[in-house]
Amino acid sequence: EFHRSVPAAVQVTVRDALNQAMDEELERDERVFLMGEEVAQYDGAYKVSRGLWKKYGDKRVIDTPISEMGFAGIAVGAAMAGLRPICEFMTFNFSMQAIDQVINSAAKTYYMSAGLQPVPIVFRGPNGASAGVAAQHSQCFAAWYAHCPGLKVVSPWNSEDAKGLLKSAIRDDNPVVFLENELMYGVPFEMSEESQSKDFTIPIGKAKIERQGNHVTVVSHSRYVGHCLDAAAVLAKEGIECEVINLRTIRPMDVESIETSVMKTNHLVTVEGGWPQFGVGAEICARIMEGPAFNYLDSPVTRVTGVDIPMPYAKILEDHSVPQIKDIIFSVKKTLNV
């Protein structure tokens, strides 16, 4: 038996994974282009688009003035006329300036035109909490966008998620809101050999079981998937085996995967960074109640969420405004009544 090397897996940060995805899609399809503030000559406010302007030039990577409503509308118009724009919001907080274009011009048009006018556009950028940026720069928009028919809303956690889902989003003929997380940009993850291929995509609308377990289903998205896995590691030492589900897509949500898991574990905890009212966890609760998994629940669903306040600045306050690992551990134990 000859010695064989393990297939090459590499460590890639989420930032580089996003960069690779855009680079590959820009190369693959000349209709794809990127526009937003500082995306070109500055290499991206968070360096996500580093090197792309140098490689592809002014036509494919466009710096815009600070005019979210205007440039989001321009991006949607370009999509209507046959191009495939990636429209970056420096953070999704600024997308509120442009939200009419996302909802009324992008999301609803295919329906209103009864299938005559598709809008193949990706709106991407960092979403949710960062560090010390305070209330106006820390809001999570997953629930707001996921409320609307006609949009797909994607929320990657790790590098493979980021690359595979962004490629799928760009190839999708529909408007996709792609929610990144600034705190994840610099985090390296191992990426499989498969995920290094230029054709690697992850389907939108399918969740992933990150960790198998029998005692409780823990569902999350974005950065908090990592927190859930850390909590699961601690809980495992106490004999509690968590099944951790990474939603990957908020809309359309893969409720079936959650139901299948709950029918096995009989307990459900949701974890998100956003506010509790009308949020992602609230939607999961409602869907579970309406479906076959309800009868398998041994206790009500528990939601772990951000605190219902605008994000404060001081570190100690900020740290206590979002779910910590100990909050997840506490909530799992309460749900299991241990």
């Binding site: 321009i74 011009s105 295919y110 529909n174």
Partner: protein, 390 residues
Amino acid sequence: SGKMLSNISNVLRACAQKNGAAVVMSARTYADFTTQATFEIKKCDLFKLDEAPATQVVMTRDEGLQYYRTMQTMRRMELKADQLYKQKIIRGFCHLYDGQEACAVGIEAAINLTDHLITAYRAHGYTYTRGGTFNMQIVLLRGGIAKGKGGSMHMYCKNFYGGNGIVGAQVPLGAGVALACKYQENNQLCVCLYGDGAANQGQIFETYNMAALWKLPVIFICENNRYGMGTSVERAAASTDYYKRGEFIPGLRVDGMDVLCVREATRFAADHCRSGKGPILMELQTYRYHGHSMSDPGVSYRTREEIQEVRSKSDPISMLKDRMLSNNMASVEELKEIDVEVRKEIEDAAQFATTDPEPPLEELCNHIFSNNPPVEVRGTNPWSKLKSVS
């Protein structure tokens, strides 16, 4: 010329059927009509422009007849829509375009169907000039079988991007279409329309900036009909010189009631765009006879005398008709014949719309996503699981 001969023979037949005293009708052959004439049209007001659209313009008989027929069709279409709305066959919002016909017809006369156009909600005229057949329009307004997901404000066809309900939102969209034209290097342009009310929207100024910065081939056109819903221009705008509000974008103010003025100005603007100079702005001074929408009688914020004055002195169809008759480009009978044909077409279309079945309920959830496998859609209650296909 075959059509001309059949027109003549129809005229003769119609005369022969008149009872009473025999009418001596000399057979007017095509040789009797002037094939084209030169007209002196109003000069445009210019902003940051050294050249101007032509003021001596040629119109051929064929062009005149086509403009006449198109404008008359649009006029009768809007009046029919009014009727259908009052009969509750058309529902919701209905914003009528009668009075403004010269704008849509003049613009289309100066661009190609391969160019692009987008407007706001007063869109029936453009839906027609851009190629949406009349039957389709009535069916859409009614919400009939083929489409009907959007209604009056959301009708689309090739290179026509609606029909947009959010005031001003269509302006960045139009610049985006122009960006696609420039990107694809296809020498096409986008005509991007908005009203005097929308002209105060912030996103329009954002769009002016980017269009000028990137030299996008977009013709911004402000259809100034003097009133944004019930608010006159003087009460809404610190500056009512809408053609100047592009600041660094050259502008033209045009008589929007004269189809030839609109055509010449649009030709000038299209040349400007296609030569790579970037955007240009046109203000068309026009007027709507109806209120803002079918819910607005249109007489609480303006006088009936004003409306009547515009009808009698500036009606675009009358103006064209007078020009053609006084230059021997057509006969009274010929134009009447067109009126009769148009009326019939509209009646038939309305009849079609009234009897066309409503959309089947199976259509309810379709067209959420393009090029997508079928998805399940939640109905009004948890047991209602509906299906959506692309």
